[in-house]
Amino acid sequence: MNKRQINNILIWFSAIILIILIMTPGLWVVLTAFRPQVDVMAKPAVWIPRNLNLIQFETMLFGGSEGSMGRSPIPVLSYLRNSLIISFTSTFIAVLVGTIGGYGFARHNFKHKNKYFLLIMLTRTIPGISLSLPIFIIFSKIGLIDTHIGIILVFVALNIPFTIWLTDGFFRQIPRAMSEVAMTDGCTKLQAFWHIELPLSRSGIASAGIFAFLISWNEYALVSNLARSTDSKTLTVGLMDFTAQFTINWPGMCALAVFIIIPALILTFMVQKHLVTGLTFGGVKG
């Protein structure tokens, strides 16, 4: 065996270890969702599942039946509706505003441009959870607690800086001559943007969109403070419905977690191609 082969084996070995480390918790969540509570709580742990069932999903959607823990259904459809409304709306607005912002930073020169850019990026250095109290106080004064609009606003604010950063990089990659040609070709500035620059930065915008969506979809800490009822509680916050005073229904919680993962997974696969080119292409700012 020569040195290169040893190297290869080492690389593969570390890669496999790494993948196991990353995948195991996720796999455990999925497994737990299909196992009876007894198995989940067993000590010593039952590593290889003995029987799998769909009881948790049935209970979650239709209420308790025999063999389940006799719980009432949790309003998973309301949560799903809230999650969808909040994630899609906030993503749409964040991408729209962020793209315009990114275009502005990439294409226009104005005073203190770099300082503004830095300032916008700095807003993301504040840990989200530390914002929860001030946001809660402000929202309670203006009546935005437990509303879609309130939560959407928070996500829009969180996602715009990242979108600006990513799309700015993309617009910079498009030669300025491209829009200049379009303008001598008879376009207004807006038409040049719409027909030429926007399609060319599609993958960047798609990447920004998927990131914004995943952040909104998966966020827990802020929403758990701002959402009080089924009017605005999202799926992630709904996970807490499985905790009672003294018990936690782990299989039920995991079932909902699986339910949360699926749409995100589908969406990620759908834009995966863009995501890869997006990260390798737009990520480097010129």
């Binding site: 040609v181 303008m183 001598t184 008879g186 376009c187 030429i196």
Partner: protein, 364 residues
């Protein structure tokens, strides 16, 4: 079809004045080349005509209409860029037809005009391809096709050939000239390459540091450079240029170089220079020839010097030799073998020397 006129046009970038109050009249159907070293303001001038840069001072007219406050799309000009700037997400056909689509023309007319332009430029077979599937020369042709399909009043070319390799550049140069003959539209063409300027232009405008040094036909500029800069810029190899002081020797004004070499001032210039005046005198490579291999001019000044390097190019040979301490180049059109360190007698044709005032740079 239109003339273009620039009246006292200036461009500032911050505090730097890139274009300094230039006046220029471009005649209808003329092929005008703006040439100069980088940073001379030629591109800025072109972009102001296109409407891509604000005009900070002065007036630009196309036809009789003032353009200052019009958007690029309202000026009916077409621009061809150095990096082609083809729309990568569109096929060649869509690239060509884009401006017509924006203008709201019908499908059928767009198709007709696209095919007409494609025919002129010989790109019909690529119409369904994307720009990424084309070679550099083909892309350049598409870029030109996109410009002509609109039937603009003026074509603007911004260094369109500098991304191509030497062979292709020569080929496309000829095509651009042919295109101008076919469509006979006013062309303003920017380049830093004086060969391109000489071969393409009806008239050349030489710019330096934001001002126009000289305007004229290629031969005008070659034969009668108005400034020292123009003299050295036009022509290849560059004109030999030697600094000297005018001295009086035996009641005849002569030029004494810094190395002490004395060359008589040509007879027709005797009254145009003064004693002690600081000047430069220039002569082209073909006007200093080795006597052994050439004909001695009627009004010659001779010197002996050894060859530093000889570059045989087939029809001609460039000989690098020393004039005092300064290296000059001589061009001979006989296929004789010349080697380094050969000592040759050179004859300088005094009737074809150019004198420039050292302070103003103007021709004497």
């Amino acid at each position: 079809m239109a003339k273009v006129s620039l009246q006292g046009v200036s461009k500032f970038y911050g505090k730097v004045q890139a274009v300094k109050k230039i006046d220029l009249e471009i005649i209808d159907k003329e092929f005008l080349v703006l040439v100069g070293p980088s940073g001379c303001g030629k591109s800025s001038s072109l972009r102001m005509i296109a409407g891509l840069e604000e005009i900070d001072e002065g007036i630009i007219k196309i036809g009789d209409k003032e353009m200052n406050n019009l958007e690029p799309r309202e000026r009916n000009v077409s621009m061809v860029f150095q990096n082609y700037a083809l729309y990568p997400h569109m096929t060649v056909e869509e690239n060509l037809g884009f401006s017509l689509k924006i203008a709201g023309l019908g499908k059928k007319e767009i198709e007709e005009r696209v095919h007409e332009a494609a025919g002129i430029l010989d790109i019909t077979e690529f119409l369904q391809r994307k720009p990424s599937q084309l070679s550099g020369g083909q892309r350049q042709r598409v870029a030109m096709g996109r410009a002509i399909v609109r039937r603009p009043d003026v074509f603007l070319f911004d260094e369109p050939l500098s991304n191509l390799d030497a062979k292709l550049r020569n080929q496309m140069r000829t095509e651009i000239k042919r295109l101008h003959q076919k469509v006979s539209t006013t062309i303003v063409y920017v380049t830093h390459d004086q060969v391109e300027a000489m071969t393409l232009a009806d008239r050349i405008v030489i710019m330096k540091d934001g001002i126009i040094e000289q305007t004229g036909t290629p031969l005008d500029l070659f034969e009668r450079p108005a400034t020292k800069f123009v003299a050295t810029f036009i022509g290849s190899p560059s004109m030999n240029m030697i600094k000297a002081t005018v001295v009086n020797q035996n009641n005849q004004l002569s030029m004494k170089t810094n190395d002490g070499i004395i060359v008589p001032v040509p007879k027709d210039k005797q009254n145009s220079v003064n004693e002690y005046q600081k000047i430069s005198f220039g002569f082209r490579a073909e006007d200093i020839v080795p006597l052994q291999f050439g004909q001695k001019p009627s009004n010659a000044w001779e010197m002996q010097s050894s060859v530093n390097i000889a570059e045989p190019l087939g029809t001609e040979t460039l000989i690098f030799t020393n004039f005092g301490e300064i290296e000059i180049v001589s061009r001979m059109f006989t296929p004789e073998q010349v080697k380094s360190n050969d000592v040759l007698d050179f004859a300088l044709n005094l009737d074809r020397t150019y004198l420039f005032d050292e302070n103003s740079g103007l021709a004497i």
